[in-house]
């Protein structure tokens, strides 16, 4: 079930904020590309002028250096009543895989997102389920529960939040969490990562939330605040690339999703930003 990294779709711009005429010069898997607003929609081309496939989904412009398949579905994006939030790009000097792995980690909440997504002494990660769903070729973590002082912009006080994590793409993850104003529904928070090089990435968070009270600017800044709290941690992780072989880092129960993600990447042959032999 291996798949070439060049055949994946990657996010390269916010669809509603296409760069002006000069375009956005950026990198994808180390190759220079340019994204610009064309007459009939966004265009992406390589340095040699080769036009690349383009699709627009979940607020973003996606492109592919090779032969693309279908982009993973997020059915919630089409549900009425949700507010779709383009959070904006943040550049991080880290492996694109490290950015996804950090997103999957619950144990760091009380220490990095103190008094927002977690707080001391509520640091315990309860037992949860993780599996690779072969029928869709995705990693899923379910029944994740965590005590959160302010789970979302719309949360009034501390609640025990339930999470589901999903990795449908080597550099993208989708998180489902209890919606504070709509307890029967899940808020969707996605992290779309554009790999610039193996140790540099642009992260495009995107959300589909039930929240009628907060302004768009408030929702954007809440998520930017959360993600920027992670940035300095991500930039200081050693080794720089995500180790896919055991021996380098000792996992604990909180890391079950990370272990499954690494195993899935290895099985899929996705090693861009990974370290294969324990140093």
């Amino acid at each position: 079930m291996t798949r070439d990294k060049r055949d994946e779709w990657y996010p390269v711009a916010i669809a509603a904020m296409l760069p002006p005429a000069r375009g956005r010069d950026t990198l994808l898997l180390g190759e220079p590309i340019r994204v610009r607003a064309g007459d009939s929609g966004p265009q992406v081309e390589t340095a040699e002028g080769r036009a690349l496939p383009v699709t627009i989904a979940y607020g973003h412009v996606w492109t592919c250096l090779g032969t693309p398949g279908d982009l993973f579905p997020i059915p919630e994006a089409a549900q009425p009543g949700r507010r779709l939030v383009d959070v904006g790009m943040v550049r991080v000097k880290c492996s694109p895989l490290r950015a996804v792995e950090n997103f999957l980690d619950i144990a760091h909440f009380p220490f990095v997102h103190t008094d927002i997504l977690g707080s001391e002494p509520h640091t315990e990660v309860y037992r949860y389920d993780v599996r690779i769903r072969d029928e869709v070729d995705e990693v899923w973590a379910t029944k994740v529960r965590f005590y959160q002082p302010q789970a979302a912009k719309s949360a009034e006080g501390g609640i025990e939040t339930e999470y589901m994590y999903r990795v449908p793409h080597p550099t993208c993850s989708v998180l489902y969490k209890t919606s504070p104003p709509m307890p029967g529904e899940w808020d969707v928070i996605a992290l779309f990562v554009q790999p610039l090089t193996e140790e540099l990435c642009d992260v495009w968070p995107w959300m589909a939330l039930y929240d009628d009270a907060s302004s768009m600017a408030e929702m954007i800044q809440f998520q930017q605040m959360i993600f920027l709290q992670d940035r300095s941690i991500l930039e200081n992780q050693i080794p720089r690339r995500l180790p896919l072989d055991p021996g380098m880092e000792s996992p604990t129960r909180a890391d079950l999703t990370s272990i499954a993600y690494r195993r899935w990447l290895k099985r899929r042959g996705y090693t861009y930003g990974a370290q294969l032999v324990a140093a």
Binding site: T114, S215, M216, Q221, M225, Q229, R231
Partner: protein, 214 residues
């Protein structure tokens, strides 16, 4: 008091920090600086024609220059500072913002700029700050203008603490690191993304063993 605010702005954070340290309540209004550039839009320019953040509105008073906002909030508190030395540091805070803040925006948000020149300029200002803190330390003072923190420290601190976001590391400047630690240990200190609280100074959770950890 209303603060028109952007959560990742160093200057907005300086205002929030001073308000927290002096026990003043701010009502923050989020402005979509990034990615929306809302501060350049007509709606926001009706509040601040210059199209910049932060902006403080207190009744009839509207202030849009970071140093002026800090002076306003500090009035009547121990953070107030007057005189030429205070003005020198408030003015210097703009150089820190331009150089270190410019490098940070380049590295983090893809804002165009000559990154090497920005970092070199930022390092120059860090050298000036390190020397000033050394001189202050020789006179037994832990802060820029004496033995208590003032708006001079608050105006400079955020830009310095966030320098690593722009690829400017602080490892070479021991007095700056001690000064930052002193500021982070102040009662009422608040954090922002990239500027962490001192977890290690928090009391251990769990039963009180009778002050052994105090």
């Amino acid at each position: 008091m209303i603060l028109y605010d952007y959560v990742l702005s160093a200057d907005c954070y300086a205002v929030r920090l001073l308000a927290a340290l002096t026990g003043q309540r701010l009502e923050t209004r989020a402005v979509d600086f990034y990615p929306g550039a809302a501060e350049k839009g007509a709606a926001f320019r009706a509040i601040n024609p210059a199209g910049t953040l932060p902006v403080l509105v207190d009744g009839e008073v509207t202030l849009a220059e970071p140093a002026a906002i800090l002076m306003y909030l500090a009035t009547g508190t121990s953070f107030a500072a007057e005189g030429a030395s205070a003005q020198e540091w408030l003015a210097r805070s703009r150089h820190f913002a331009a150089a270190l803040g410019g490098a940070r925006q380049h590295d983090m948000l893809e804002v165009p700029g000559d990154i090497d020149a920005l970092r070199a300029e930022g390092s120059l200002w860090l050298r000036i700050l390190e020397a000033a803190l050394f001189e202050a330390g020789e006179e037994g003072c832990g802060f820029l203008l004496g033995d208590t923190p003032t708006i001079a420290d608050i105006a400079i601190f955020p830009h310095v603490a966030l320098a690593p976001d722009g690829g400017v590391e602080l490892g070479a400047w021991p007095r700056i690191r001690l000064w930052m630690r002193r500021l982070r240990a102040l009662p009422g200190f608040i954090e922002m993304p990239g500027i962490h609280r001192l977890h290690d100074l928090k009391p251990e959770p769990g039963p009180d063993y009778g002050g052994a950890a105090a």
